[in-house]
Subunit: 449 residues, 2 copies
């Protein structure tokens, strides 16, 4: 990485973002799709179901489906080759940060790590080109009062602020506009990552906005609760990010989306801290200011603390899956499920492309795949249980609740699926399909391609 | 009614509000609590369960509980005695309305009928005193375009607008501020009362904002659907009013509150019509403008059309009830129900006062009451099944869903209630308690008191 300016920094924290996340791709540095010496696709690391496994069907399917020859590679630029422009100078701001003992840095790598979200376009920029404009200085508030202070400083010294949580944004909200002439502060919420309290009686939990989803959920689980919110990005995205992006969770049928879960929040703006005067889930009068903050993507202020609903851990969690002869049957099944309001915690429909890709990603030893008798990539078979391989679609589901409730839900869905010529695909396939969500995010980039 | 000014009006519609609703009390003119010749409380008309019935226990309980002697009466002022101030004159506005063929009237009675909500304070004003400030002219838009036109006229001619739906407001939002010097237009939405379409596939319905709740629900029922929203005021309140007041419904556990049901709406403002460009139940980005309109009480503009979610009529609707030894046990039962997320469509807790009042309102022939062996008003008994009469509380519930679902819900709640020493009070009492909601609204005023 070449940068022709002097780094200025103060009390820089060691954050997970800089230590264990890729600088130019999704997720953990140790987790990657790659091609092994036999020419097969494997997945590195040990964090996922497919980690360390060989997926023999994937390469043929991938090459065939996308018409790509994986012998042709275009390696990404190295971090050392990336050219980083000098930041917009604002000495008054730097002095202000120093005077107020705010942790900050304008180091090239630290700025680069916070300059983008995770769209495919972002990935291409990082690997092939250049991020058009980086934020000029990164700050790490340690308290809500420091957020207030930093915003005051930004106002006084003519700066813009872009708050960053997990950085998994796909809305370009983390981009610094190329036309921005002011110094841009990236406000990294990583140090505000604590649960403040859990109210067992009212089933609420208040936490600092920078807490990462999986950490929040793990801590709640230990106390016997779940937050119920499970976006694809839960490993990296933060509570404040969920609010700022109006996040949807995969189990929203049971727990609601983030706007259904937020009970109270503190929102630090140039004019001060906005917060409702009561901590109740609903007020039956007046416009709801929370709903303007939700989805505002950091444009109006910074979410500093959030109270969310929590739920006792369900007695039973069970996966399920269905296979339908075609997408239309799948859609009609979903419509009927919605109409009868019998959705389990999660129910997700995959079209034929997704289904086949999911099958192609199965590891060498998988049994269901074996029952297809042949690699889909070769298309030796045209039907399976009467279904055409190029029309099949599938649904994964997650049941959560009391045993009685889950048994009943499962029974109902299984019966209903039959009305749409659906076949119950079993728990193992459901779990596989649901959890694959977290691994396929890594498909965007591959180590040696 | 005395008014010392010349009425000006054009094409005045015959609306239900002026024809069948009381001018100085809740609801239908023919429905009233009153004292019969035997000195017992009865309820007039034929619209409610208690209509035409004698409630022998009510008067003694009422007199005892409130310490009131019902022989002392203070009859309300007669409509003919009410003095109505002349409206603020605005000839330009009147000319504008005439030119644009807008239905309007400044008649004293028509203004009075739209000058208030239904708080107890409003009732006292109507019966004993005076509404401090009336709107100056009432208009009845017949189309959304007429709403646009009227708002244009109001802007051009320096007027304020107060939209009115069912007029059941308890937030004082229908009050014309006494300090308001401009001419105030009451925009009566009564003529915009049609269902525009029902989408059976997407389970949505679009209707004009002035449609009255019971009419909307009745029409949907005929087609096999329900809107699921059942506020106490459903007989009189309107779809647009539900949105403008952020209404909660008694069956919100199953169907959600109004903010959960709105999919799309048109909102006519001074700057034009605000509407989202898509008709989907949720957008996973950006602030939600609907949530600013919801609860805005007519201050920003006029809701003209609303698309709401609808639901297939449930296979089974069943009432239920529980009696608990005291309020604390009731609250703890509710907490556990919430924690286990096993709420039926409606579940409402009544404290001891409400419970005893509900019992005292039972009609002469009621059997459950008989099982109490004596009139509560006399307090001859101190316990019933071990419960103390002055501590008992009760819950009513409504189950809606498939037979299987309802059976299971009922079974679960019945078992859980036992953990809190609750006794199942049966379906009849549940239905009685739930539906009493609609009749007790009439308790505020009585014909001959």
């Amino acid at each position: 990485m070449s940068a022709s300016y002097q780094t200025i920094e103060h009390d820089v924290p060691q954050s997970y973002r800089d230590k264990i996340l890729k600088w130019n791709g999704w997720g953990y540095t140790d987790s990657q799709f790659t091609i092994n010496k036999d020419g097969h696709v494997t997945f590195t690391g040990d964090k996922y179901d497919i980690s360390g496994k060989v997926m023999p069907h994937f390469r043929p399917w991938f090459e065939n489906y996308l018409g790509i020859d994986l012998n042709y590679v275009s390696p990404a630029q190295k971090l050392s080759d990336v050219v980083i422009d000098a930041p917009v100078e604002n000495e008054d701001l730097i002095d202000f940060l120093k005077e107020n003992n705010i942790s900050f840095s304008n180091s090239a790598r630290i700025r680069l790590m916070r300059a983008h979200g995770h769209t495919v376009h972002d990935m291409v920029n990082l690997r092939e080109g250049k991020i058009p404009r980086l934020p000029d200085v990164v700050v790490w508030p340690k308290t809500e009062q420091e957020i207030v202070k930093i915003i005051e400083g930004a106002m006084s010294h003519n700066c813009a602020i872009i708050p960053i949580g997990g950085g998994t944004s796909v809305t370009n909200a983390l981009d610094t506009p190329v036309t921005e002439k002011r110094a841009v502060i990236s406000m990294d919420m990583a140090l505000l990552d604590k649960i403040l309290w859990i109210d067992r009686e009212n089933l609420t939990c208040r936490a600092e906005a920078g807490i990462v989803g999986q950490s929040l959920e793990r801590q709640l689980n230990k106390k016997g609760f779940t937050c119920g919110h499970e976006p694809d990005s839960i490993e990296f995205s933060t509570l404040g990010g969920w609010v700022s992006t109006r996040a949807s969770g995969m189990k929203k049928n049971k727990y609601g989306n983030i706007e259904d879960l937020v009970v109270h929040l503190n929102f630090v703006c140039p004019k001060g801290i906005i917060q409702k005067q009561c901590q109740v889930p609903r007020i039956s009068s007046g416009p709801d200011i929370h709903q303007i903050i939700l989805g505002s993507e950091g444009t109006f202020g910074v979410v500093s603390e959030v109270t969310i609903k929590i739920f006792p851990l369900p007695e039973v969690k069970r996966y399920g899956s269905f296979v339908f002869p075609n997408f239309e049957n799948g859609v009609n099944f979903f419509r009927e499920v919605a109409s009868r309001r019998i959705q389990p915690a999660s129910l997700r429909l995959m079209d034929n492309d997704q289904f086949v890709m999911g099958q192609a990603l199965k590891v060498a030893s998988d049994s269901w795949w074996a029952s297809l008798k042949s690699s889909v990539s070769k298309m030796y078979i045209t039907s399976w249980k009467g279904f055409k391989v190029d029309e099949i679609c599938a649904a994964t589901c997650v049941y959560e609740g009391s045993r009685e409730e889950v048994d009943q839900q499962e029974d109902r869905l299984n019966k209903l699926a039959a009305d749409f010529h659906g076949i119950v695909g079993g728990e193992e396939n459901g779990q596989y399909g649901y959890r694959l969500t977290f691994a396929i995010a890594y498909l965007r980039v591959s180590r040696n391609l």
